[in-house]
Symmetry: C2
Subunit: 148 residues, 2 copies
DNA sequence: TGTTGTTAGTTACAAAAACAACTATTACAC
DNA sequence: GTGTAATAGTTGTTTTTGTAACTAACAACA
């Protein structure tokens, strides 16, 4: 079986590599400016983008585990980026929204993200970007069960 | 600024998402069969693919930090997957090789990886795969300094 | 030789993630 | 209503990772 299999072309490996590299610089921005972790940044962005949400809503959209969200929300509300209001009808549910400060951070980081995106995209050709997006989204939607 | 920025199309986000999904099923194989972590699997693969290497060699190729490698090697040799031989001339250096057991694990996992790769690729069109590979490799090689 | 600097790799400690068990509240079946 | 199951979210404990400091061995050179 003299296949030309190579670690460097193994898709999961390449994906992780690219993901890591392309997250790093941006990560440093929200970390340095607002002391946020990736989970917190994600929660902030979801709230900024979609408005009021519950923790479960975010978990569904972001495919994040509820404990991650719980802790991210905790830290974000501790620092007054996020406000939580218990639902009147169902007291298990908390509605989350950005505070003014949270929105300011979101606006700031969003602008950075847009510029960052431009920088990344500029490394590629237009058609490559399209193909990349399409491929990534297909892969993300793929549920590869127990294929062994 | 009514830009159509969307979290779902933010490249670092998409990359992470796809990387996570496409690593998961495979991860479970080496975890379940050999109790390995990702770092250990990577070290094993590098040794299987390129033969004898030092920890530093692996670190360079895999872009992994030396502490990760040190710990991975420790666990792998603990379980007799990897053997370490101190260099005669320079006693700081340890040459790492797979044991018979390590090679068996490598062969097994490599076969799984190849099938896994096929499964992933089959989700995409041929030209998409090419574009994806090209794009990922460009992004990985990109050093995005302090762009703010 | 002795001093200083470098390199390979390890270890210790702090930060973060993963996993499981838990509380509180609501829903449903009888 | 009462008992059981389900849901939203939290907390505790264990793994894993990240960062920095460290040891051991070698190199370079006065």
């Amino acid at each position: 079986m003299p296949s030309d299999f190579d670690l460097e072309t193994f898709l999961p490996y390449m994906l992780n590599q690219a993901a890591e590299v392309s997250s790093l610089s941006f990560q440093q921005v929200y970390k340095k400016r607002y002391g946020m972790l990736r989970t917190e940044w994600r929660v902030l962005f979801h709230l900024g983008l979609y408005g009021q949400m519950t923790a479960s809503d975010i978990g569904e959209r972001a495919r994040m585990h509820k404990t991650k969200i719980s802790r991210a929300v905790h830290r974000l509300s501790e620092r007054r980026f996020v406000e939580r209001v218990t639902d009147k009808k169902d007291r298990r549910i908390a509605h989350l929204t950005l505070t003014a400060q949270g929105r300011a951070a979101y606006d700031d980081l969003r602008a950075v993200a847009e510029r960052y995106e431009q920088t990344l995209v500029s490394q590629l050709q237009a058609n490559e970007v399209d193909a990349l997006r399409r491929a990534l989204s297909k892969l993300s939607d793929t549920a590869l069960g127990d294929f062994t």
